[in-house]
């Protein structure tokens, strides 16, 4: 099982929306390489014919009745927003210039 490189960590950080500093990249790459080396043991069972378990309870599609109920007011829902305007979340620019 291959380890993890600094370049891979940088790519994963970008995917995870983490603007890591250079020294963090060095440090995490080293630590993650050790961790991945240790957890890679699970692949011992990769070839075995064992069904996967994703959850301890065998539940599916738990639904509630489709009824109108009281919920948060717009003021409550926006109470923790870093910025809001006209009962909406105010966010930085999402689309590019062109």
């Amino acid at each position: 099982m291959p380890g993890i490189t600094r370049e891979e960590v940088a790519h994963l950080a970008r995917l995870s929306r983490l603007e890591l500093q250079a020294e963090e990249l060095d440090h995490f790459a080293e630590q993650l390489d050790v961790i991945i080396g240790a957890v890679a043991r699970v692949s011992e069972v990769a070839g075995q014919d064992v069904p996967p378990t994703s959850h301890p309870l065998p539940l599916s599609n738990v639904m509630r009745a489709d009824e109108v109920r009281q919920s948060l007011t717009p003021e409550q829902a926006l109470s923790g927003a870093p910025a809001s305007e006209d009962q909406r979340f105010r966010v930085p620019q999402i689309l590019g210039e062109d």
Binding site: M1, I4, E8, V9, L12, A13, R14, L15, S16, R17, L18, E19, L20, Q21, E24, F28, Q31, L32, V34, I35, I36, A38, V39, A40, R41, V42, S43, E44, V45, A46, Q48, V50, P51, P52, T53, S54, H55, P56, L57, L59, V62, R64, L72, Q76, A77, S79, G80, A81, P82, A83, F89, V91, P92, Q93, I94, G96
Partner: protein
């Protein structure tokens, strides 16, 4: 009056119900204690003096009017800062949520309030419940009341330390890989991870949704049972909540009889890495169980040796997805929004500034494990291991009623010792993780002090899913026998703060 803080929750509730003491006096005694010792312990991130006294006054009013009081009415509690509390800050130990005031209560919070439990405040924890030492809190580490230079366990170190420091007789924790049981073990207190789905996760800030489980922390097995009954039960707001009656845990905690029970020692949880004094106290407890009339046998669960690796793929994978919600748009921290940066850049700068190292490591690890080239080898294999572990438990429980092991391989380690060595830190949860992966029930309770360092050792008891009452039956019996043997409770040996 200072002795009020030494009362168990059961004693406190009964003293209030009988009019020996008012709920306000009880609340004030604990607030005074927090004031006196918490600068040293750092168990609390937020103390809600006003709210606690108001809740206590409500109990005194009810009693004055002759209204029926609930079993825990007026009993103070320390709430892990991972459950939302309406109008009270909820940080999860992270800078990401500094100053955030939730607009709603978690179901667990609501149930505590409905039971007239007095919530004293919110307790310190590893950031987003990721860690085994509470050192990953953005608000400084919590000290272990047995030795303030040592860790109180994690992630719920604040809750366990609050109990051991007599700042509260009850506390709430969450257990994803051992975050209730391991702090319980290293602080000489009782912690229970109920069956997955027993306690609602609505309003519990998610770390690893298929593993996270809230549960009771206390100084006695009976107190844990009383709290268990108050918080467990079906919640339509949590789609993974179990719709079945809560096992009769309070009754079980009072049985004090384990004659004829079959108990299995997990063979894999011993050997290299296990502290001699931990094994000594564990083996003595095994003998005690035999003297109390249980049949103790050794059982093998070979897949448990793969539990730790599987956990450190599954939990980070779910974490990388769950923590995507911290995007700096709707609540929490926002950094770098100066009008020149895009939303995506602001998100990345905020997450860099708001998350600590362990959270970042796990997000990256989880993103790696879920990426297309590695999914089958890592996440897929970890899910297979999860099946194998459940099968090992099923096979073991076909022959025994409960399983036992040490809760942790070692006693509390010094603050700083494993802080920058993730793999060493992860080993603290070696014995507790299998129950999270299988979703069954487990308890840790004190079984003595390790002779070499005079620090608490935890006994772990594991029961099948939905058989949580067995934990309390065995735990209550062992606790009573040990207290008889010692002539006092273990916490009475803790040094004065």
């Amino acid at each position: 009056m200072t002795e009020l803080i030494k009362y168990t929750a059961a004693e406190t509730a009964s003293a209030i119900a009988n009019g020996e003491v008012s709920a306000v006096e009880v609340a004030q005694a604990h607030l005074d204690r927090i004031d006196a010792v918490d600068k040293k312990v750092n168990a609390f991130l937020h103390v809600d003096t006003e709210g606690a006294l108001a809740a206590a006054r409500k109990v005194d009013d009810k009693r004055a009017k002759g209204e029926r009081l609930s079993p825990l009415a007026g009993v103070p509690l320390a709430l892990k800062d991972v459950f939302t509390t309406r109008g009270i800050p909820t940080t999860c130990g992270s800078k990401m949520l500094e100053g955030w005031i939730p607009p709603y209560d978690a179901t667990l919070t609501r149930r505590l309030k409905d039971a007239d439990v007095v919530i004293l405040g919110k307790t310190n924890m590893d950031e987003f419940a990721m860690g085994s030492s509470t050192e990953n809190s953005a608000y400084g580490p919590t000290g272990n009341p047995w030795d303030l230079t040592r860790i109180p366990g994690g992630s719920g170190g604040g809750s366990a330390a609050a109990l051991a420091a007599f700042e509260a007789p009850l506390a709430i924790g969450t257990d994803t890989g051992g975050s209730i049981r391991q702090p319980g073990a290293v602080t000489g207190t009782v912690g229970v991870k109920p069956t997955y789905g027993a306690v609602s996760r609505y309003g519990l800030v998610a770390f690893s949704s298929s593993l996270d489980q809230g549960g009771p922390c206390a100084r006695t097995v009976l107190d844990a049972a009383l709290l268990h009954e108050a918080i467990a039960g079906h919640d339509p707001l949590d789609s993974t909540s179990i719709d079945a009656p809560v096992p009769a845990v309070v009754e079980a905690a009072k049985m004090r009889d384990i004659r004829g029970m079959r108990i299995g020692i997990v063979k894999e949880f011993a050997g290299e890495g296990y502290q001699a004094g931990v094994m000594q106290r564990f083996n003595e407890t095994v003998e005690l169980l035999r003297e109390l009339g249980a049949e103790v046998v050794e059982v093998s669960c070979p897949s448990f040796t793969l539990a730790l690796p599987a956990y450190y793929l599954i939990a980070p994978s779910e974490c990388s997805s769950n923590l995507a919600r911290f995007d700096a748009m709707r609540y929490g921290l926002r950094v770098g929004d100066d009008g020149t940066r895009s939303a995506e850049q602001v998100t990345a700068l905020t997450r860099e500034a708001g998350f600590g190292d362990e959270v970042k490591r796990r997000i990256i690890l989880g993103t790696y494990a879920l990426s297309s080239g590695y999914y089958d080898a890592y996440y897929g294999s970890a899910q297979k291991v999860r099946t194998l572990i459940s099968r090992d438990f099923d096979a073991a429980f076909a022959g025994v009623d409960v399983l036992i092991s040490p809760t942790t391989p070692t006693t509390a380690f010094p603050i700083g010792e494993r802080a920058d060595d993730p793999m060493a830190m992860y080993l603290a949860d070696l014995c507790t993780i299998p129950s999270n992966l299988a979703g069954n029930a487990a308890m840790s309770l004190p079984c003595g002090l390790a002779p070499e360092d005079n620090l608490p050792v935890g006994l772990q008891i594991i029961a099948p899913a939905m058989a949580d009452d067995r934990l309390y039956r065995v735990g209550g019996t062992v606790e009573a026998a040990l207290n008889d043997k010692w002539g006092h409770t273990l916490l009475e040996e803790a040094p004065a703060l």
